[in-house]
Symmetry: C2
Subunit: 413 residues, 2 copies
């Protein structure tokens, strides 16, 4: 009898020790005191804290914090339109499979809640961070990566108002020792072909011949192949690595035609994808050579890693899309950390103070100008609670007189 008793105790302890359940999911809306009407995505962020037993994981959702908070707490509309919370709270989180299962539940139970994919993104990141801390393993190791390769950050710039301005900006990038740079938006695509040729040539001249140059058209030609065509020759001549978002993301026919005309210059796109299927379609039907994934939008690290694997099978290069904090940067590097020849990464070159203050650690460039994925447990970033407290935005959502959300206390536990 005694031996059976102790067997039971041992089994109970084993189960108890292995099973970690999600006790709390908290959202913190952080913002600069003033948000400007400019294309700088680092002006606010939605931080996610997940507590499971003694462990804490942190993640970050891209864009519109209030709306993602609402999708976590909203009352159910029907069986396929539930609040994200219903699929997450109380779930066991012992393995990589648990993270995928939780994500699949969110996608099924919140199928008709459009914002849910963005909300899931931050939750998924926090779950990977948490599981990494439980297992004392960096996220990329949990993802099966044997060797995490350094990434080459590119400096992302707006085109200058004139080609002369662009030339000076490009020179500054070179002086700052970036070995890759992207120019985009501004006047590009809006004026005549000659203006755009001048702009691209100025960027190349300013960077010199050895720095990789990417051009971001910011969907300026909607779905009009003809308008894009006139720019192809200068892109080839200036050895541009990729032309990003020449068209709106759904214009697959225009993308595919341009991808053939522009070779060897590749097309790039995908930052808006909110599930892996959309990224696959860009690869399969739009002919992109680079697929750009924001782990804070696509459903988190799990979905981003699915895209990285698929891209590799199809000979397409995976690139992160990251414009905010170094927590988001660490999360966004994990999915392609193990792919040696997918080297270029987006790097937030001049984010707002909020994004820099978020973490104690930063992923700075080494002497060769490269970025290294942290090899600390989880995402390898700790939150600087005191530094970010001044950015915390007080939110209160009440439905039928009941408080569904109130900004929680910002602590490390």
């Amino acid at each position: 009898m005694v031996s059976i008793y102790w067997c039971r105790v041992a089994v109970a302890m084993l189960i108890g020790g292995l099973t970690v359940k999600i006790d709390a999911v908290d959202f913190f809306y952080l913002s600069m005191p003033e948000v400007l009407d400019i294309g700088d995505g680092s002006q606010d962020l939605l931080l996610v804290r997940i507590v499971a037993g003694e462990y804490i994981g942190w993640g970050e959702c891209e864009a519109s914090p209030l709306v993602s908070i609402a999708s976590y707490v909203t009352p159910m509309s029907h069986s396929a339109c539930k609040p994200v919370r219903d699929s997450v709270l109380g779930q066991p989180i012992d393995s990589v499979e648990d993270i995928r299962r939780i994500g699949d539940q969110v996608k099924a139970n919140s199928l008709d809640l459009l914002q849910a994919d963005h909300t899931l993104s931050g939750i998924d990141m926090a779950l990977w961070d948490l599981l990494g801390k439980v297992q004392q393993s960096p996220v990329h190791t949990l993802l099966g990566v044997k060797t995490a390769y350094p990434k080459r950050p590119y400096a992302s710039q707006l085109f200058g108002d004139t080609a002369e301005d662009t030339f000076r900006l490009a020179q500054a990038v070179r002086q700052d020792q970036y070995t890759a740079a992207k120019f985009g938006w501004g006047p590009f695509g809006w004026g005549g072909v000659a203006d755009d040729i001048d702009q691209v040539m100025a960027a190349r001249e300013g960077l010199g011949p050895d720095t990789a140059l990417m051009i971001d058209a910011g969907t300026v030609w909607a779905d009009d192949l003809t308008r894009a065509q006139g720019r192809v020759d200068v892109l080839k001549q200036c050895e541009v690595t990729w032309l990003e978002e020449p068209f709106v993301s759904g214009a697959f026919d225009a993308y595919r035609s341009l991808s053939e005309l522009a070779r060897p210059v590749a097309l790039a796109g995908g930052e808006g994808c909110h599930n892996p299927w959309q990224a696959r379609h860009l690869i399969d039907y739009a002919g992109v050579g680079f697929v750009q994934i924001d782990a804070g939008r696509i459903g988190g690290i799990t979905s981003a890693a699915d895209v990285a694997r698929y891209a590799q099978q199809r000979g397409v290069t995976y690139v992160n899309h990251t414009y905010t904090s170094h927590l988001a940067l660490s999360a966004s590097l994990q999915p392609f950390a193990g792919i040696a020849n997918n080297e270029i990464c987006e790097y937030p070159v001049a984010p707002k103070s909020l994004a820099l203050d978020l973490t104690h650690e930063r992923l700075d460039r080494d002497e060769d100008g490269m970025i290294h994925v942290p090899d600390r447990p989880g995402l390898g970033m700790s939150i600087d609670i005191d530094a970010i407290r001044p950015y915390l935005v007080d939110v209160d959502i009440r439905v039928r007189g009941q408080t569904l959300y109130r900004t929680p206390e910002l602590t490390n536990s």
Copy 2:
């Protein structure tokens, strides 16, 4: 001098008379007292009221009212992540082109706000309703429709737990004089092939040979063509009109392969599309024969009509997806009212009382069992304010101590 003076007055009056500006956009979250965990989308709704001068238009967003309200009022994150409000309030609304312009603004200014497409959907409907009232014209006439054709409603049913149950349900549909019926979900696809064969045959037998039969697989086979294949023969044998959502909506390869195997049975899908591009991709790459569009999700009537036009060009049949009120039903019929051979329409057969109480008018079947698009101005439906007041949900959203949204008074003005 007098004549110049009067000219100026006349021009000013003319301009003043022609220009209507959006003065107010109000959201009303309406819900049944209790929302059940069932696949019934009529348990809540988000009503949109737009006031422009002396005119009022009404629209309806599909699913998760709180989240769509939040996306209307949320603080800006950056220049491409603005609250929907910023692109709508104060805009002139004199023509169909104005409605499209407002929608395009929302899509550009709220590009990174995922929920914005659902929010826009109700706003777009309300704008069409309002413009129709200004111009004393039904929406389908504004859309260029010369003749609005009646539509054949199908009765949408869940499969019974057993084939015998399904047979009885099908008999009841026939007795209720529907000439088209859809069976879906329930046990279908989860068990063995033999069970599914029994179910489909029971549905056909119960309906008799002359009633159109559609089958909804509810994405049960994810992206697994093999599992779907075994059901193809019985679908052909029972002359099924369409097989709906055999796979998740992104699984284009599986869709396309099955669409070839299943001929002459067509595949159907598209209810989750939140922009017209996604519907085009289902037509171009997934091989659907029927594209099912929810005007309350895809961006409203404007986007839905774009899909209807594209589908017609490609020989694909357009069908509405409608599960809520007769206001939403009127809106969902307008985009394909003029396409005579796109006859079948989804019809909310047994919605909750909220959906029926919303409007004074209902789109009931005529003696031939057909539904007629209203030929009254706008959407042709008036809101029964007194009837719906008990369903009104009180919502209060505060950010930094400021009220961003508070449920407004529910009135007709």
